[in-house]
């Protein structure tokens, strides 16, 4: 069954489809939640919340904007950020995050997914450290340019520039491969 069919089945209340979808994605959803919140118990709650949100918002899934996996992971990111906003005192370590993202994990999602992840990972590696740190702190932790500036000890304008240049460069790198 395709991801789209599973999502549709889950939205329609089909328990079997929901089970298959959860089973297929739980490691990636939980892994992302854990990457963001850092605490297993919170990550578990966030990951369950993400599947609940997926079920609730399945009708809003638009296949033109990307695959089910991307959609599910962005829901997970939002759920995780909502959870950590409650306690902003948590230390964020961009070096640790960057190192985690740079690690190629054991193949769990088929060759196609692995190839795509490798492409993104390679593109991220070409960014200067400061740009990469700014982009991933915003994307994964939901930090604003102001917060990133404060954490990195640079003016807000510098943080904004790093985000803009970093993302533009990532896009260029990925486009070259697309074309």
């Amino acid at each position: 069954m395709t991801d789209e069919a599973l999502l549709a089945g889950m939205a329609a209340g089909d328990a079997q489809a929901a089970t298959t979808l959860v089973r297929r994605y739980q490691a990636r959803v939980y892994g992302l939640a854990l990457t963001i919140v850092g605490v297993p118990a919170t990550a578990e709650d966030v990951a369950q919340d993400a599947f609940l949100r997926a079920w609730r918002f399945a009708g809003g899934y638009d296949p033109r904007r990307g695959g089910v996996a991307t959609w599910l992971l962005s829901i997970t990111r939002n759920a995780a950020i909502d959870a950590v906003r409650m306690r902003r005192d948590q230390p964020y370590e961009p070096e640790l995050l960057l190192a985690m993202l740079d690690t190629r994990s054991a193949d769990d999602g088929g060759q196609e997914r692995t190839a795509d992840a490798d492409r993104v990972r390679t593109a991220l590696r070409t960014l200067p450290r400061d740009q990469a740190a700014a982009v991933v702190m915003a994307t994964f932790y939901g930090l604003t340019a102001k917060e990133i500036g404060a954490r990195e000890g640079v003016p807000i304008g510098t943080a904004k520039t790093r985000i803009r240049l970093g993302l533009a460069r990532l896009r260029d790198k990925l486009e070259v491969h697309d074309g």
Partner: protein
Amino acid sequence: MDDDRYGCAQATELLAELAVGAIAGEQRADVLRHVAGCPSCRAELAELARVADGLLQLAPPVEPPAGFESAALARIAVEAAPSPSVAAKPRYPRIRRPGRALAAAFALVVAVALGAGAVWWRTAADRSLAARTRQTQELADGRYLKAARLTTVAGDSAGTVFMYEGNPSWLLVTISAAPVDGSYRVVLINQDGRRYPIGACEVASGSGTTAYRLATVASIDTIEMTAPSGVLLTART
């Protein structure tokens, strides 16, 4: 845009921050307002957001603790459970009457099963399906999706009835060109000739949508919809 404080130049500066979620408050609202009215900034934002979302797959997968799967499914089940109703005596073996959100969910089933994605839903069922009445699409595990044209007595197309045989099964009525408005009574006629009233469908400006969860749709032969004025619409499966 009268209330558009940003031009493209100013908005472009901030699209990357918007795409990664690094912008908050009033500034965010201002950029969004510009993007809403500017197709080129919207396209740029969509592309940047795709790049940012692509980073999320780099998070290392981790197997969750034992019991995760059943706990996640239980949370969904709790939310999906019907609120207890007292004197419901459904004549047709029906599970419960879904609300608008579930009708939307069903629409997704239909869209995905037909392989047309979200575009189909927005451009309305009937255009793409008018030529293919009584179409049945086999899905996995004995499931299928059937579409039947809803017509007036004169044979004019008024909408489409979708039947999804699964667990649970669904019946979705979409009316797009009804000859009269009002609250239509919906009656299912089984292959053995028995009639089951299943509810009403509100039609305004010629269109309306309603969905029912049923134990099965396999035994349905005809769907009849009758307006208060007596106007009749029928669909044969």
